[in-house]
């Protein structure tokens, strides 16, 4: 089961942080189809967050088609196994690690690497977008 956390320095609203954490966990294969998300009460009891925020995050995930809510039972992950096969992640991560090592060798510091990655990512995404 996923354990949520809040990063208060991120500048991202708590609601979006929860949404992103579930999305990320699904992408990374940490949450599988059929896994149950913690109940709203469990989440608020653990990280001291407004229950409406948790419900709103779960509704958004439901809207995105990532989870289904079963009344009286709970909220469950609902993704086709093909959504982000973890097997593909390993080689991709290795490539990325190699790339980071090369960037370091080239003299870039962490900040420079991050900036370069984000900029390239944005460029590539804007080309890919319709």
């Amino acid at each position: 089961m996923i354990e949520f956390y809040l990063d208060q320095k991120s500048g991202v609203t708590p609601y979006l942080q929860l949404v992103q954490q579930v999305r990320r966990a699904v992408k990374l294969g940490l949450l599988h189809d059929g896994d149950q998300l913690p109940t709203v009460k469990d989440v608020v009891g653990k990280i001291a967050i407004n229950p409406n925020t948790v419900s709103k995050a779960y509704r958004e995930l439901e809207h995105q088609g990532l989870v289904v809510a079963r009344t009286g039972v709970g909220t469950f992950v609902a993704v086709a196994p093909s959504d982000g096969p973890p097997a593909m992640l390993r080689p991709l991560r290795r490539d990325l690690e190699r790339w980071i090592a090369r960037a370091r060798d080239a003299g870039l510091d962490d900040e420079g690497i991050e900036a370069l990655f984000i900029e390239s990512f944005r460029d590539a995404s804007s080309v890919a977008a319709p």
Binding site: L6, Q8, G11, T13, P14, Y15, V40, K41, V44, G45, K46, I47, A48, I49, N50, P51, N52, T53, K56
Partner: protein, 298 residues
Amino acid sequence: MTTVLEATDLGKRYRHKWALSDCTLSIPQGHVVGLVGPNGSGKSTLLNLAAGLLAPSAGRLDVLGGTPARDATALGRVGFVAQEPPVYSAFSVRDHLRLGAHLNPRWGAELAEHRVEDLGLDPSQRAGKLSSGQRAQLALTLAIAKRPELLLLDEPVASLDPLARREFLQILMETVADQDVSIVLSSHLVSDIERVCDYLIVLADSRVQLAGDVDELVSSHHRLIGSRRDPAGYPANQEVIDASHTDRQSSLIVRSHGPVLEEAWTIEPVSLEDLVLAYMARGKHPRSGHHFDGEVTE
């Protein structure tokens, strides 16, 4: 929509000084409302008015559809925890629960005993011997066991260490998840407000500077960064809340009533903390948002 608190031109004057003025608010039911503002901005005054401990000097205030504390029923529907945890130091924890049971018709005895057990409080311990965190928890327990529809908390976590603060907020949020209760709490800690509140009121200079749903407020405000310019060059359809300038750059916090049309501005999100600070600063220097000192050198 049902409101828990409805204020119209509400004001409170102590001798010659207005502690709260022209306060018009409509707080919908089912929210956890954060009340922020500098010391002396009227937070406690507003909460004391809502609890019925103070009478308005001007305007009108309705709490749960009527005058605050007008009768026993109205008193039973509102819980109030004042800034200094209101417990009796010579009374034991058990005495407090017994007192609560006697004074409150809707008292949840089981709930109260459960809470005391969960908190690890010794029922025979005198309140005066408890730590400040435990006293705050006891006061909250009493307020919750009363099963109020509206819970008013005046800086409930101000005197607590980080761990006790977190535990306090956890219990508060569990209560919101369990019971149908609306909460108004004042705090200086915007990070706590961001965690637990879904509705925000900024008070400054004894006036309401901002009130609304937190997510809506955050999404309707932006930071615009561009080359330095005077107010004539600000985007026309944006309400400028705060502006700061360097030699070359102007940075604005704006409330958007439509998209920013000029491409000359870089648009960034504003954190809740910066948003709160911008409105507090505006309360301090009412026109600072549009004030521009120095000349534009080009």
